[in-house]
């Protein structure tokens, strides 16, 4: 028997052990490897857990446009015309108690109302209110469902972002994409199931991000998000060293395969067969990723739609376009982060500048998905880690103000499969300080996202430290009102 036959036999044995019928070549990259232990649960050939999805999925994939820093709800979506006549008045402590103000403003002697300096208009058949820097979004406003009643407990960037991405303010839990990848596997054998992309607001020192936001936490490491990079190799170490050709790499891999197969035959250790398979996958990624990131191959009208930065690696526009290309290729969870929404000072200019970076590409992504018929089975989510205070941080004028972190209410929007486009959901009080109607907690949003993928958030659990953990901790209700 030659070594490759031995290897095949190994694979068969391994398949028996794992309850999978995968051959060497068909193993999905989403799996990124064999189960870490034989105690792991059985999986479908695409790497998804058996028994999932729990219900017929409404969407096949999620694109989450995370707006890092905390966009100001009252400067973007949560229109409060009545506040103009309260300009400079103190926000009553009955509305905004002192206890949960951050230490950046809790020492202020005054908490004056800073009405939005931006003009609002109603758009679309739905008459959804948007501030003026969002003119591109206004063109697709009937496709989005604006949720004005989001709230969280965390008031600092790090814990708040960590809560949105992992369901807990404390580090160590798996990110949402990792849960989805763990539960559903991938639809593409040559790409990861979960990809993270980052960009920074022009001229901004944005809030930092952390690897844990797309990490696997206590799930096996292969479920972590693969970060596509804006500098150097698009995926870490993707390219061969300088001076080495693809043919030479192939030769190296051929020899590795033969030599490793001999070892596999000797030790009967399934881990060796897995390693051989992963080297082959790496080689295929070396082929498929450059093709994937070649956005120049897009027709001009598409590039124009995303705007002038569509071909600039690492920009938000480029990432939006890449998100669509990843979605087309079956990537399950595409997580974008755009930094720069923090607004302790110069908030009106900050919002306008952030919208200049993001408004057109975001709208283009929706249009592009729609024109390809992909919006029906894609869920697009837009939002940050918290909102901002109606009271001014620092000096207040009619045209300028700063806003501190505000967890009690802020705005998210969703679009795509199964979402009620054109809807505005939930409401805040006249100051945009507290939710007064249909509150949606972080865990509710997470439950809803999973639900659209056909996952019951209470049933996708993983046992760690003797406990069955899940994304939504012990909370979360699907927000059925926003679903069609």
């Amino acid at each position: 028997m030659n070594s490759i036959d031995q290897l095949r036999q190994q694979q068969t044995r391994r398949a028996v052990l794992e309850g999978s019928t995968l051959g060497l070549g068909a193993m999905a990259l989403s799996q990124l490897s064999a189960p870490a232990s034989a105690a792991e649960k059985p999986r479908h050939p695409n790497g998804g857990l058996q028994g999932l999805p729990h219900s017929p999925p409404r969407v096949r994939r999620v694109i989450y446009l995370f707006q890092s820093g905390g966009p100001a709800q009252m400067d973007l979506f949560d229109y409060k015309p009545g506040l103009h006549r309260r300009f400079g008045e103190e926000v009553p402590t009955s509305i905004y108690p002192d206890e949960r103000k951050t230490t950046m403003t809790s020492g202020q002697s005054s908490f004056p109302v800073a009405p939005s300096a931006l003009r609002f208009r109603q758009y679309g058949d739905s008459g959804t209110w948007l501030s003026e820097p969002q003119k591109h979004l206004s063109e697709v406003v009937d496709d989005i469902c604006v949720i004005r009643s989001m709230y969280t407990e965390a008031i600092n960037h790090d814990p708040a972002a960590t809560l949105f991405q992992t369901g807990s303010v404390i580090a160590g839990r798996p990110s949402m994409g990792a849960w989805v990848s763990y539960g559903l596997g991938s639809e593409n054998a040559n790409l990861p199931a979960f990809v993270a992309l980052t960009s920074n607001g022009t001229g901004k020192q944005g809030q930092p991000l952390y690897d844990r936001l797309w990490g696997a936490g206590f799930l096996p490491g292969r479920f972590q998000g693969v970060k596509f990079r804006g500098q150097g190799d698009p995926i870490l170490d993707l390219y061969n060293p300088q001076g080495m050709t693809r043919e030479q790499r192939r030769r190296t891999l051929n020899s590795l395969q033969k030599l490793n197969a001999q070892q596999a035959g000797r030790f009967n250790d399934p881990a060796i067969a897995t390693r051989i398979a992963q080297y082959e996958l790496a080689f295929r990624m070396q082929m498929s990723v450059p093709e994937l990131i070649d956005v120049q191959s897009e027709p001009k009208n598409v590039l124009d739609m995303y705007g002038p930065e569509a071909t600039q690696v690492g920009k938000y526009a480029y990432n939006c376009l890449l998100a669509r290309r990843l979605a087309e290729r079956g990537v399950r969870f595409i997580q974008l982060y755009h930094r720069g929404w923090d607004a302790h000072g110069n908030a009106p200019r900050g919002v306008a500048s952030q919208c200049r970076d993001t408004d057109q590409p975001t709208a283009a992504l929706l249009k592009d998905l729609k024109q390809r018929g992909m919006l029906e089975d894609t869920l697009v989510v837009w939002g940050g880690e918290f909102g901002r205070t109606i009271y001014c941080q620092g000096k207040l004028t009619r045209t300028n103000y700063g806003r501190d972190h505000h967890p009690n209410c802020f705005t998210y929007w969703m679009a795509g499969g199964g979402v009620r486009g054109g809807m505005t959901y939930g409401a805040t009080d006249e100051y945009s300080v507290n939710v007064v109607e249909n509150p949606v907690h972080v865990h509710d949003l997470q439950a809803t996202i999973l639900h659209q993928l056909g996952i019951n958030h209470e049933r996708l659990t993983y046992r760690f430290q003797g406990r069955h953990y899940r994304l939504t901790d012990v909370h979360g209700n699907v927000v059925n009102d926003v679903l069609s």
């Binding site: 044995r13 028996v16 052990l17 794992e18 309850g19 990124l32 870490a36 034989a38 105690a39 059985p42 058996q50 951050t102 230490t103 950046m104 403003t105 020492g107 008031i155 600092n156 960037h157 790090d158 580090a171 160590g172 930092p208 096996p220 490491g221 292969r222 693969v226 990079r229 500098q231 190799d233 870490l236 170490d237 993707l238 061969n240 060293p241 300088q242 001076g243 080495m244 043919e247 030479q248 190296t252 020899s255 590795l256 033969k258 030599l259 070892q263 000797r266 030790f267 009967n268 250790d269 060796i272 390693r275 992963q278 080297y279 790496a282 930094r339 941080q393 430290q465 003797g466 406990r467």
Partner: protein
């Protein structure tokens, strides 16, 4: 047919992952771990497979003595099922309890008469969804196998003994060594336990591994680096009886031992060079790491080792070094994000200390009881905050400084670690001074790079209260808590002071049922990849049962008996015949015991990310060995920090590129990606067990990462400098250097063909060769033939990428 059905019945029990069911397989006196966590579909496959194989027939014989209901033991077989499926609503947490019924408390359960009345049996077997337990909306699943175990147990009288303590809460019992029929195999006590169980399972140990494999295995295990060719030759030529022991003593005496053993401790104690939140500011804790390496190398007894780290500032003989040791409890993350509410985060740090202590020494998950009584283990919320009280008196600030150490810290003399008598004395840290800067962010004074963080008590203790739902701003002020340990564990001796020093004494007391076991288990995991208790972080009711409980206890008592002599325990393990077995196994054995829990073969594992890089540097001659000192910044991908944060990674130059990986700068929010790709712990929280997955990202790193390509370049230079100019000799030398074994002729031939092909390529394109040789900072040696060196580089790259090169066989 009856026999076959019996088999199927037994196979269906295997699906359950919880250990006790495997007891039904009656493999031996100890519970056998679940051999395979298999799906129904797989079980069908397995059935077919077993039916077809002679091997399967052998298994029949083993499986024949099947379920004997009388065999069911409550604590081992029943409670874990109840715990997982029922305790969420019928467990220790009163707030979560759905009805009066408690299945965690013997008196209460018996009084309820659910067992004797047939009520529980009805609820388990009913088809009516309104009656059937557990209810669908509980999201608890009871597998068919577990259900039948419970019904079986109920039918034979539901025996629930009066002493129903969880095994891990009973102090270890030292049992005599079991007798075995085979007498010529055992080397020490460990082997008696392993062999007895193998014999009961009708299995045989494997032959000893060949000497080269053994030397590689033990050298990596004890020092994190491979043996040199000289060391290999010396061992192969040493025919004395004590050859193996000589090697072990040499390795235990090597300074590399302390560096290597420190790694597990660094990961568990969440050591890093930054604070870990938001901007992830800098801190300086390497002096504590130096202390750690030195303590391990000097074989400080484990009780002293723990006591210094828990309470080095309180010891009667305290000094500067014992004070540095307390940095262990300062390695947690510290939030320095502007705007944070200090009280909220101060609570977080203290809780982290409790949780880390719980995981590292007690093998218990304390996190649950932070917000409510534990749902599975008898640890109450009051227990949590009583432990919390031990750590709540540190003179510290809730918000970290903007870069630098957070108080309390002490200045480190320039002469560290060679301190004068005077410098070795205990230092009183400067008290915390909160300054409100900028808008109103209250920050403490920062410690300079020439300081290290320590523990130091406040003059008057902070009051500790139970926090309702774990919320920092909701203390239950009706009761002030004093420091105390959980009642379910060993008793408190009134001679001990009610402070961290007393806590250390309680942890290290021989009556403590957990500390020695949990530590031994991690040591076992270090060598065999899995602990005797697979869930090394959880010895509680929801944890797995030990595969060899008597061995675990024997080792735990041996540890205490030898005065907590750590090196002696390491030596005991590697001297055992169990450790020395070959890892080559027949397919039948792999199928039978894929995770090698029975240890009928030696351990075969992928190397740690640290060892993989260090070995490549050693092979290439690039490794710079220097013990201790501040962290270094080797190669990283471009923009590694800047792309997602506001800090810039400034790579080091020269020898700092080639230090051992344990010294690599660890930024918590952006940890070194190559280390992470190979499953290093992220250092955000206490992690004592990481998985070992294989991914294409690992392949890309090994093939293309600058560190590994540069290592290949310099391995190629060493190949070219060999005495022989024959390509085959050079390849053989490098192959043996990297894998610790000589290649077979076919293997050499294959690589020789590659070499010739690469050489042709590069001779035709010398510019490409030059470009390849520019990978990494260290220039290639003048006078070497460029296409030749490039061709050898690619062969070296191949050798470094062999599965064998990153494994211990």
């Amino acid at each position: 047919m009856a026999m076959c059905d019996k088999l199927l019945l037994n196979m269906s029990t295997i699906q359950n992952n919880s250990l006790p069911m495997t007891r039904l397989l009656t493999f031996g006196p100890d519970a056998l771990p679940d051999p395979i966590g298999v799906a129904p579909q797989t079980r069908r496959l397995l059935r077919r497979k077993f039916a077809a194989l002679v091997f399967g027939l052998a298994l029949f014989a083993l499986l024949l003595p099947t379920i004997e209901a009388g065999d069911l033991e409550f604590t081992r077989d029943i409670r874990p099922i109840l715990s997982d499926a029922c305790y969420t609503c019928h467990g220790p947490d009163p707030e979560a309890r759905a009805t009066e019924l408690r299945l965690d408390d013997r008196a209460s359960a018996l009084a309820s008469a659910v067992f004797s009345s047939g009520e529980m049996l009805r609820r388990l077997t009913s088809k009516d969804p309104d009656l059937r337990m557990p209810p669908v909306d509980s999201n608890r699943v009871l597998s068919n196998a577990d259900r039948s175990t419970l019904t079986e147990w109920l039918k034979v009288g539901a025996d629930w003994p009066e002493d129903d303590r969880h095994w891990a809460f009973i102090p270890p019992q030292r049992k005599p060594l079991p007798t075995t029929s085979r007498r010529d195999w055992t080397q020490n006590g460990i082997d008696h336990f392993i062999l007895a169980k193998l014999e009961a399972s009708k299995l045989h140990p494997s032959v000893a591994a060949d000497r080269a494999t053994l030397l590689r295995r033990v050298t990596f295990d004890l020092t994190g680096l491979p043996p040199t060719i000289e060391e290999l030759d010396a061992f192969l030529n040493d025919n004395s009886d004590s050859a193996w022991e000589t090697v072990i003593d040499r390795l235990l005496a090597s300074d590399r031992y302390g560096e290597h053993m420190a790694l597990d401790w660094l990961e568990a104690s969440r050591y890093a060079d930054t604070d870990g939140y938001q901007n992830d500011r800098l801190r300086y804790m390497w002096v504590w790491r130096d202390w750690l390496i030195s303590a391990l190398n000097s074989n400080m007894p484990f009780d002293r080792f723990v006591t210094e780290q828990m309470a080095g500032d309180m010891l009667p003989d305290r000094n500067f070094f014992t004070q540095v040791a307390t940095g262990f409890n300062r390695n947690h993350r510290i939030n320095s994000e502007g705007g944070s509410i200090p009280d909220e985060w101060a609570v977080e740090y203290v809780a982290d200390r409790v949780e880390t202590m719980g995981t590292m020494f007690l093998g218990l998950t304390m996190t649950c009881s932070r917000c409510h009584d534990h749902k599975y283990d008898p640890i109450t919320q009051q227990d949590f905050y009583s432990l919390f009280a031990f750590f709540n008196n540190i003179d510290e600030a809730g918000l970290g400084p903007n870069n630098g150490n957070s108080p309390p810290f002490i200045p480190v003399p320039k002469s560290w670690p060679n301190l004068s008598q005077k410098e070795s004395e205990f230092v009183v840290p400067e008290p915390v001074k909160i300054k409100v800067v900028q808008t109103s962010v209250p920050r403490p004074q920062p410690g300079s790079p020439q300081t290290v963080m320590v523990l130091h008590e406040l003059a008057s203790p902070r009051p500790t209260y139970r926090l309702i739902r774990g919320q920092y701003d909701q203390p239950d002020k009706t009761q002030k808590l004093t420091p105390a340990t959980p009642a379910v564990l060993s008793r408190w001796n009134d001679k001990w002071p009610r402070n961290r020093l007393g806590l250390a004494q309680w942890l290290m007391s021989p009556e403590n049922p957990l500390t020695a076991r949990v530590t031994i288990n991690r040591i076992w995991q270090h060598y065999f990849g899995r602990g005797l208790v697979r869930t090394s972080e959880n010895f509680g009711v929801q944890g797995e049962m030990p595969s060899h409980p008597k061995l675990l206890d024997w080792l735990a008592t041996e540890f205490v008996r030898t005065g907590w002599d750590v090196k002696a325990i390491h030596k005991l393990v590697v001297m055992s015949a169990t450790y020395r077995q070959s890892s080559i196994a027949a397919p039948a054995l792999i199928t039978r015991d894929p995770e090698n829990r029975l240890l009928a073969r030696g351990p075969r594992r992928r190397l740690s990310p640290f060892a993989i890089r260090d070995a490549a540097l050693l092979h290439s001659g690039l490794l710079v060995e220097k013990i201790g000192g501040p962290s270094v910044k080797p190669y990283m991908p471009p923009g590694i920090w800047k792309s997602i944060s506001n800090a810039k990674y400034v790579q080091d130059k020269g020898e700092k590129l080639y230090r051992r990986s344990m010294y690599t700068y660890w930024r918590r929010t952006v940890p070194p990606p190559t280390m992470m790709a190979f499953n290093a712990a992220a250092r955000e929280t206490c992690i004592v067990r990481t998985d070992e997955t294989t991914t294409p990202l690992q392949a890309l790193a090994m093939l293309n990462n600058v560190t590994f390509v540069e290592s290949a370049r310099f391995l190629a230079e060493r190949m070219l400098r060999q005495d022989s100019s024959s390509p085959a000799d050079r390849i053989d030398w490098a192959f043996r250097l990297v894998t610790s074994r000589a290649p077979q002729a076919g293997e050499t031939e294959l690589l020789k063909d590659d070499l010739a092909a690469y050489l042709r390529d590069f001779q035709a394109a010398p510019e490409a060769a030059r470009r390849l040789l520019k990978t990494g900072e260290k220039p290639f040696s003048k006078g070497l033939d460029v296409p030749m060196l490039a061709a050898y580089t690619l062969v070296a790259n191949t050798i470094l990428n062999l599965d064998e090169s990153m494994s211990q066989n």
